[in-house]
């Protein structure tokens, strides 16, 4: 049966953990020493290793919550046994999955016009006494029950206080809570990359992102063994925020050292065609570099930005020059080439339908990764249309639309039958995407920098989705392409439930929803 406590009329649902127990010691130093000893004996440190805060140690073990007190005590280092006072319950918050160790303390804040006398009467009626006032708010206290009342009763007492809503603003058990460290990188422009972690500001809605930081707790930027092919115009392989992640052919004698150029039919995938005005997409070879940055810009290098999969590798596969005109067979072969070296393929473009490209996609999805199948992500297009473009509409392609910083579909983003997901990107009048830009002097969308804050469209959403797939494969590389797809579908957030009109979990506007990197890698980790 779930436990519930109420904070400012919001119900928080908890379950008692069967596999965790809190062990309360006589003094904090024994708790800490005991946790260290147990961790040392286990040799491998992981998130379930014993940890201590104050007098309480969190102990994890299958069914440990049901074990008798004596059994728990006997599992501890012998010299610490005598210091154990009791075991205390550990709850799991249903929303976050995080553990919360019960204490005897309750935090209570009284309403502003409540007198000292009223406060005292209420506390006395519940046999609660004030332990300490809050340092920063004079109406807030930590209170405790009588000595003979243990941690199991704190939840119920907190709820009784909350029920006094004429007097109490809120009351909640003062749990010792597990916190998930948000694994931000040290890249200075990371705070502008709202699509990774949106903390609000500038009119954006906090949380409208892919939960990248939480995903990075599990797999920091993914694995270098996972390669994302950026099939597009040139990728600036000398860009200081991309260079270290550019794929290097393991065959030292192969001519394609760092990718391939199917447009000029050589092995240099860098941008080389530019026509004024140089900061425009039309006529310039500057689209592949920002796409690559969204997926895999180097992270934690104290420079620029971080890609969602900042430890994975980029395979640049050039198919366009400045004009986005290319022979069908070269584009199809570029996909086949990508399928030989990359697990994930990102295509931020659309084209007229043709059999050769269609068969190339079938070739890599069916035959890539030793038969497990490459994942091919394609943009739905930016045409304001209620149908998605080719090759996104190919049934083996994962079609990606765009959502904005408000958690709604970007106006331009094509939608309709076949869309699989959306991922955060730009919209009219809303924040754009900060990513790498062509680093050649006076070239790229931002002529004065090697970074742009104005990238966007389904062009940006697509490598973001590809990067999430790369994180999924980083934690579980044996998954087939359909398993990865199903994980991404199952863990996508059903944003805009009213406008989305989801039917059986699927929306023509959003597909299965907005991708969530954290949920996807968590699910992949579980197999």
């Amino acid at each position: 049966m779930p436990f519930i406590y109420t904070v400012t009329r919001e119900k928080v649902e908890l379950a008692v953990s069967a596999n965790d127990i809190g062990v309360r010691f006589a003094t904090p130093d024994v708790a800490l020493k005991s946790a260290r000893t147990l961790r040392g004996a286990a040799k491998v440190l992981h998130e379930d290793s014993p940890r201590a805060y104050g007098r309480v140690m969190l102990l994890h073990g299958s069914g440990v919550a049901r074990a008798a007190f004596a059994n728990v005590r006997d599992a501890l280092p012998s010299k610490d046994m005598q210091s154990v006072r009791r075991t205390v319950p550990v709850y799991i918050e249903q929303d976050s999955g995080l553990r919360m160790i019960s204490t005897r303390e309750i935090a209570v804040r009284f309403k502003s016009k409540v007198t000292d006398d009223q406060q005292a009467k209420l506390l006395a009626s519940l046999s609660l006494t004030e332990r300490r006032p809050n340092e920063f708010n004079p109406r807030q206290y930590v209170v405790v029950p009588a000595e003979n009342v243990d941690e199991w009763a704190a939840l119920e007492l907190a709820n009784k206080l909350s029920e006094q809503d004429s007097l109490v603003e809120y009351a909640a058990p003062n749990f010792i809570s597990e916190h998930r460290k948000a694994a931000a990188t040290n890249d200075p422009r990371l705070r502008s990359q709202w699509h990774l972690n949106n903390s609000g500001g500038g009119g954006a809605l906090a949380g409208e992102d892919v939960d990248a930081f939480l995903a990075w707790n599990i797999t920091p930027g993914g694995s270098p063994a996972i390669v994302i092919a950026i099939v597009d115009d040139g990728v600036d392989i000398k860009h200081p925020d991309l260079q270290a992640n550019i794929w290097v052919n393991p065959n030292a004698n192969a001519p394609d050292r760092n990718g391939r150029n199917f447009y000029d039919d050589d092995y240099n995938p860098r941008p080389r065609y530019f026509h004024p005005p140089y900061d425009q997409l039309e006529g310039n070879d500057s689209h592949g570099t920002p796409c690559a940055g969204v997926a895999t810009a180097v992270g934690n290098n104290r420079r620029g930005v971080a890609g969602i999969a900042y430890n994975c590798r980029i395979l640049p596969v050039k198919i366009f020059g400045a004009d986005a005109l290319a022979p069908n067979d070269r584009v199809a072969d570029a996909i086949r080439y990508a399928g030989q070296h990359a697990q994930v393929i990102s295509c931020s473009w659309s084209s007229p339908w043709n059999s050769d490209l269609e068969s190339a996609i079938d070739d890599v999805v069916q035959g890539g990764r030793g038969g497990k199948g490459c994942l091919v992500f394609c943009a739905t297009g930016n045409g304001y249309q209620s149908k998605i473009a080719f090759p996104a509409k190919h049934p083996r392609v994962l079609a990606v639309g765009a959502s904005n910083d408000q958690g709604k579909r970007s106006q331009y983003s094509n939608y309709g039958q076949g869309i699989q997901f959306v991922a955060p990107s730009s919209d009219h009048g809303r924040a754009g995407i900060t990513t790498t830009d062509v680093s050649l002097r006076n070239r790229g969308f931002n002529l004065r920098s090697a970074y742009t804050s104005d990238f966007g469209g389904t062009s940006s959403a697509t490598p973001l989705a590809a990067g999430i797939a790369a994180l999924v494969l980083s934690v579980n590389p044996v998954l087939t392409w359909t398993q990865v797809r199903d994980i991404m579908r199952a863990t996508a957030e059903k944003i805009d439930p009213q406008g989305g009109n989801y039917q059986n979990g699927y929306s023509l506007q959003y597909g299965y929803g907005r991708l969530n990197a954290h949920q996807a890698v968590t699910c992949a980790q579980l197999g």
Partner: protein
Amino acid sequence: MTPKKAPTWARTSARRVSYKQGAREVYVKPLNNTVAVRYREGAESLVYEALRSQGRVRAIEAQRLLITEFPNAARYTEAAKQLQLWEDEGVVEFVTPVLRDEESQLQQILTDEITVRFKAVLNTKQLQEVEEKYGVTIVRQNEFVPRQFVVKVPQTRGLRTLDVASQLDAADAVEFATPNFISEYRR
């Protein structure tokens, strides 16, 4: 010497045409007064200058292509006569219409090439039979798929590549045959 009469391909009207791809019928429409010209190596400046005096030229160097839009039918017809002559002399490899794909509304430049994937690997004799039957020449085998080839349609005129592609696509031994367009991509 300039021919007196415009070639037949220059009289291709901007009517909707189609080609077959398996069960699918693909519809395209030639753009008015617009051609794609592939010049021989070394002939770029000669052809470029001549076309630039008649219309608006967009050069795609990597493909040796000049896409030219003429301001009216008269200019187009006049240029077509010269292009016909150059084609006969080998100065240009082909002159083809620029099409607009009906579904995507993207441009496709018809070339003299068709990509053919056979259902099984054919031997040399079988490949020769295909060449003879359809009047095409195999120019290269696909790097990644051994049963896939690019074939060239000699003496390409107007929409002839589309017709040959449709015929090949319907052949029993063929998995698919598709015109190797130079396509416009939307980034």
